[in-house]
Amino acid sequence: MQVVPLNPSLVGRRYQEVSCPVTREHVERFAEAIGERSPIFRDADAARAAGYADQVAPPTFVTVMQIMASAQVVLDQELGLDYSRVVHGEQEYEWRRPVVVGDVLTATPQIAGISARGPNEFLVIESQVHDASGETVVVARSTLLSRGTART
């Protein structure tokens, strides 16, 4: 199959806003899947007693938004990403406050970088995640590694 490098002119491109209302049911399912049983992540009363506004979502819960964001990027025909070559290379988070049940999170994913090293290319997708008041809750940066697509 023909190997095509990623389109570097797309650095800076923004995608459609993704939105995620943080429901109790979703936080429960996520916490259960990662084996999180600490009361603040499982019980609203325990979380409130510990000083949080409501049941706390585990810190990596925002991956839900990254999945939605990366789906748009992967489907961007102009980018030329072959998903069968992609592995998750790096992940970075800067948390400003914990996410809690009742938050409505939005993010506008952006291509923050495209670079090559050896045979591989690196695609950085950045999502600044905001709450309903517009405050930044977390900044997430995912580096996807596109195996063997660099121009050599």
Binding site: R29, A33, T63, V64, S84, Y93, W95, R97
Partner: protein, 140 residues
């Protein structure tokens, strides 16, 4: 109850956190996160791309590492930053161990920088699915 700045020292390791990676959990993670890549669910597909069977999501491994940090800190708001590299895959039924070590302590901000990593033992060798990675935390 947050870990107190005066109670820790550079070089100290945080309590490690182990679990056996199970297929049902990885499936539950796919459904909860929305990442339905067949690499994490379909053995035939995983074999077609060169693995002996399905692998865990990188983010599944990272969620476990993050839990080691919040278990230690006792307060998720004390976790400020995490920057990780995924360097090896994790197979089903492997024992995943998350670890961290304090590298720097800043008395001015009461923050600590840690090296963090995840280990599995495979065919007698120690393999690091997450390595060269750091966390920044706020201590009490």
């Amino acid at each position: 109850m947050t870990v107190r700045f005066q109670d820790v020292s550079v070089g100290e390791e945080i309590p490690s956190l182990s679990k056996v990676v199970q297929r049902e959990e990885v499936k539950a993670y796919a459904d909860a996160s929305g990442d339905q890549n067949p690499l994490h669910q379909d053995d035939a597909f995983a074999r077609s791309v060169g693995f002996p069977g399905i692998i865990a999501h990188g983010m599944f491994t990272l969620a476990h590492l993050t839990k080691a940090l919040t278990d230690w800190l006792g307060d998720p708001s004390a976790l400020l930053q995490l920057k990780v590299q995924f360097r090896a895959v994790v197979f089903m039924d492997e024992t995943l161990v998350a670890k961290g070590r304090i590298d720097e302590l800043d008395p001015a901000t009461r923050q600590a920088r840690l090296s963090v990593w995840a280990e599995v033992e495979r065919a007698g060798e120690r393999v690091l699915p997450i390595k060269n990675s750091t966390a920044l935390v706020r201590l009490g």
